[in-house]
Symmetry: C2
């Protein structure tokens, strides 16, 4: 939501610059994750990939998901149909909202989270290096449709 959008070309570049070879599976999976409006599991991505590339291996998809996650291009969604679904990373520090009715993901402005982390560091004395925040509920559109 805040400015940034997904550019599959940038994802390919990021993969290649990390020393990974350019392959057909890469492009297939990047397209799948970058263009899906809702969280996808590796298993679901595999199904979709086989529609256009039937020989795609299951392990390959899991490996690719791991690489995309390690590069920070996709992020795991925790607590939405388990913890095995992923969405593209939009801002570095994400405040992700998932609608429990329609399943769509929305990226909220993350400034409040930055403030919260700063504040918690000061009051607790802990050094916070990583965080994950997930919000669930009914999105605006679903509320209006009800």
């Amino acid at each position: 939501m805040p400015g940034k959008t997904i550019n599959p070309e940038e994802w390919l570049t990021a993969l290649n610059e990390s020393g990974i070879r350019v392959t057909a599976v890469q492009e297939t999976l990047i397209d799948i994750f970058a263009h899906s409006g809702y969280p996808l599991s590796a298993e679901e991505a595999w199904e979709i990939a086989r529609q256009s590339r039937p020989q795609t291996g299951r392990a390959t998809v899991y490996r690719m998901v791991e690489k995309l996650e390690n590069l920070g291009l996709i992020r795991r969604v925790h607590g939405y149909q388990g913890c095995s679904h992923f969405v593209p990373t939009l801002p570095e520090l994400m405040m992700l909202f998932i609608c429990l009715s329609c399943g769509r993901a929305d990226y909220l402005d993350s400034q409040p989270l930055e403030d919260l982390i700063q504040h918690s560091e000061h009051t607790s004395g802990h050094h916070i290096t990583d965080s994950r925040l997930q919000l669930f509920g009914d999105c605006r559109a679903c509320q209006e449709n009800a």
Copy 2:
């Protein structure tokens, strides 16, 4: 941290009031979860349980963990050694900090999270009904020991 502490008796009461019978396994598992200072998986709890009750069944532990989670007595920790570890629920709305060095859990004051949720509801228009926030890093003690 904020006031409240764990009282195994209250957990037993909560279980029984939900229509569940009082059994030896209940007490064993409640003790295990209530007194462990760090997140535990069902598998780990099973191991510990068998030390004092060798006949304890694996499925029973998983069932018990599910019940405790459904009653809100324990909560899943996401992103710390996977997503299959649990800690006792302290405040209703938890800001949980996990130290990546010593593994200990700390419960921070959750007012900032309440504020964040209120603010995000107003600016996004979504109705937020559930949230999970996890913070990771180096706790104060571990920083001092380094």
